[in-house]
């Protein structure tokens, strides 16, 4: 079983690196869908069969649905409707970005090994993945000028945080209702962002953050 978990995590990491290097918005959306599914699956495999109740199974199904399908399709629609130029327009170039991703990975490993947490076996890897994902999310938000990439960065950040939650907590006190609320927030958040993006696009003719620099002191 551990192999499955690890492979899922490796795929997640890969998706992170890919997202840093991808040049096309559509590709990025697809990578996000993949990452979403992988992240949703992680706790299932991490935990083993015994603690899975029926509520959990329903919850994970919904989660895969939202993260893997609903949100990516929302993004996809947004890209289709909004972005005339589908290039990502990086502030920091693709090669450099990938390099940064690798550096992030190394730092994550470093941090994880220095935390000296008595984590269950295999959770180390989750933590590394989580930190990398989070940091990469931040990096995407900062290093890309398209507004939609920032949404994707935000999603990656969320994924990372979710992974940390999965890795660090025993889930004995997690309530699925609450988790569902978080998920709903995320979904609505992306929807709202989509709406704003749409409005920005119609107002500015492009949804690029370089245009969003009027408000300053």
């Amino acid at each position: 079983m551990i192999n499955v978990t690890e492979s899922i995590l490796v795929i997640t990491l890969l998706s992170v690196l890919l997202s840093l290097g991808s040049t096309r918005l559509i590709a990025l959306v697809k990578i996000m869908a993949l990452q979403g599914i992988m992240v949703s699956l992680t706790p299932l495999f991490l935990r083993g069969d015994d603690s899975l109740g029926s509520g959990a199974i329903i919850f994970f199904q919904i989660m895969i649905l939202i993260k893997g399908l609903l949100i990516p399709s929302l993004l996809y629609m947004a890209v289709k409707k909004i972005a005339i130029k589908r290039e990502i327009e990086p502030i920091i170039g693709y090669h450099a970005s990938i390099l940064v991703g690798l550096v992030i990975l190394i730092i994550s490993v470093f941090i994880t090994s220095h935390l000296r947490l008595s984590l269950p076996a295999g959770h180390d890897m989750v933590l590394i993945t989580a930190i990398t994902t989070m940091a990469a999310g931040f990096f995407l938000m900062m290093a890309r000028s398209k507004a939609i990439t920032q949404v994707i960065g935000y999603l990656m950040l969320e994924n990372g945080i979710y992974l940390i939650g999965t890795a660090l907590t025993k889930h004995s006190h997690t309530l699925y209702v609450v988790e569902f609320g978080v998920l709903l927030d995320l979904l609505v958040g992306v929807m709202i962002m989509g709406i704003i993006l749409h409005n920005i696009n119609s107002a500015f003719d492009d949804a690029d953050t370089t245009l969003l620099r009027r408000l300053k002191d």
């Binding site: 939650g165 660090l168 006190h173 009027r214």
Partner: protein
């Protein structure tokens, strides 16, 4: 059924979408009145939570709920007239979002479970975003984008922070329900290291929402671009809700014996926020932004007071109340000025005393209040915080505090003076109306009244909110 307090506005809000704007306005007003009634009932202890594992009526929550509810009543009256006089494309959405905003904020004040609190705060961001870009100007869109993205990122960090708190629970082998109430009882067993990490992320997360510098960057944009009733609500109510998140976590830290650590962080954020407020208020060309920066500064004062603790903590809670009342009043007055002159540029506005005499009274009185002068309550809260800080012998901190207050006072005075008394360059467009004046008067009056006479129930509820971490009203 205390949950009804937030279910009611959520429900009416969704209903309002289906109603025409004229009916919606009445619904808005009705909901506001009903809401304050429910709030009063909850104060009297008539309402009990149905889901005690998620919601409870904590004293600090009730306090902020009352403030929010009162402000909302005033703002809904103001909006009643405001919506008539502005060209708003989608009034039902505006009404709906206002109500949802109220609902989510009420939910924040009542929630006891950290993650529920998080959900509610994130929800406030989402429902208030449409309020900001309701006019759909380019600036408004930009402001909304920054608001949503920065706040979401920030609040996501708060979630991470709560995960660390759960980790601290795990490491301490605690098997208690994850609510603030129960956490406080077992706080000493929590793992201190991860609790600290958790607090840092929570304070950064909710601090983003509360407007603590340097995460405040969205705030001036959003507050200046939102229509005035929404700005008033954002500044007067929303920031408090985010503060509530920080405060509850700070209480947990204090109970766990880490109060010094969290207090120092709060003091640091408080001072930085105040200084940032000062930097941007001096010479600020846009008066709504000036008010926004003033909010940042005041949030800094509150964080500072909470961080100092003891007597200053009491001052901080008073400051929350009075800042909400005064700042929302000021935003409403600023709304009148914006309607009247059609510009946000300080340079182009002057002689409010002649053109909008009644607005002048509320605007200038608000200025007096926000500068911490009697008879407005902020005088007493600032004095208490200063005294409290001295009492704890935090001399360098208090020196910076006073410096920032001075700078802000100087900057804010210049703007208010030139707007109120100076020469106008722009012609007056829309006259002032009674419905748009009464709310700001009422808010100001509330602040004065609370400075003259503090009802026992308010006094005890503040004491209840602060006594758990050693807040006192004596030396």
């Amino acid at each position: 059924m205390i949950e009804f307090i937030f279910i009611l506005p959520l429900a009416t809000g969704l209903t309002a979408l289906a109603l025409p704007a004229t009916l919606g306005r009445i619904l808005l007003l009705l909901t506001a009145l009903l809401h304050i009634q429910l709030t009063v009932m909850s104060w009297l202890g008539k309402l009990t939570p149905t889901f005690p594992s998620y919601f409870s009526a904590s004293p600090e929550g009730l306090l902020i709920l009352m403030v929010t509810s009162f402000i909302f009543v005033c703002i809904s009256i103001y909006s009643f007239s405001y919506m008539k006089e502005t060209e708003m494309e989608n009034k039902p959405i505006f009404i709906c979002c206002m109500l949802l905003f109220l609902g989510t904020m009420s939910m924040v004040t009542l929630s006891d479970h950290p993650i529920v609190l998080w959900i509610a705060i994130e929800a406030t961001t989402l429902v208030s975003a449409p309020l900001i870009f309701i006019h759909r100007s380019k600036e408004a869109l930009e402001a909304t984008w920054k608001y949503v993205l920065i706040c979401s990122v920030g609040i996501a960090l708060a979630l991470l922070g709560y995960f660390f708190v759960t980790l601290a629970m795990d490491l301490g082998n605690i098997n208690a329900p994850m609510t603030f109430t129960s956490l406080n009882t077992v706080a000493l067993e929590l793992d201190p290291l991860w609790l600290k990490v958790g607090f840092i992320f929570v304070v950064i997360g909710f601090g983003t929402k509360m407007g603590l510098a340097p995460m405040h960057t969205w705030l001036p944009d959003a507050h200046s671009q939102a229509p005035s009733p929404a700005s008033a609500l954002l500044s007067g109510a929303l920031l408090n809700c985010a503060f509530l998140g920080i405060y509850k976590t700070h209480v947990l830290m204090s109970v766990a014996g880490l109060g010094d650590f969290s207090g120092n962080i709060l003091i640091g954020f408080g001072l930085v926020s105040m200084l940032v407020g000062a930097i941007f208020i001096i010479g600020q060309p846009d008066y709504k932004r000036m008010l926004a920066y003033s909010s940042i500064k005041n949030m800094g004062i509150i964080a500072f007071g909470v961080g100092i603790g003891g007597f200053a903590l009491y001052g901080a809670f008073l400051h929350i109340i009075h800042h909400s009342l005064l700042k929302s009043s000021l935003f409403l007055s600023a709304g009148n000025i914006l309607l009247g002159f059609g510009t946000k540029q300080v340079q182009r506005i002057g002689g409010i005393i002649r053109h909008l005499p009644k607005t002048f009274v509320s605007f200038f009185a608000g200025f007096i209040g926000i500068s911490g002068l009697p008879p407005f309550g902020m005088f007493i809260s600032e004095v208490i915080i200063i005294f409290g800080a001295f009492q704890k012998h935090r001399y360098i901190c208090v020196a910076l505090f006073l410096l920032a207050l001075t700078l802000v006072g100087a900057g804010i005075c210049r703007i208010f003076m030139s707007m109120s008394y100076g020469e106008a360059t722009d012609r007056l467009q829309i006259e002032e109306k009674a419905l748009r004046l009464l709310p700001s008067y009422a808010l100001l009056f509330a602040s004065v009244a609370l400075c003259v006479w503090m009802p026992d129930i308010v006094y005890t509820i503040i004491l209840d909110s602060i006594k758990i971490i050693g807040g006192t009203t004596h030396g």
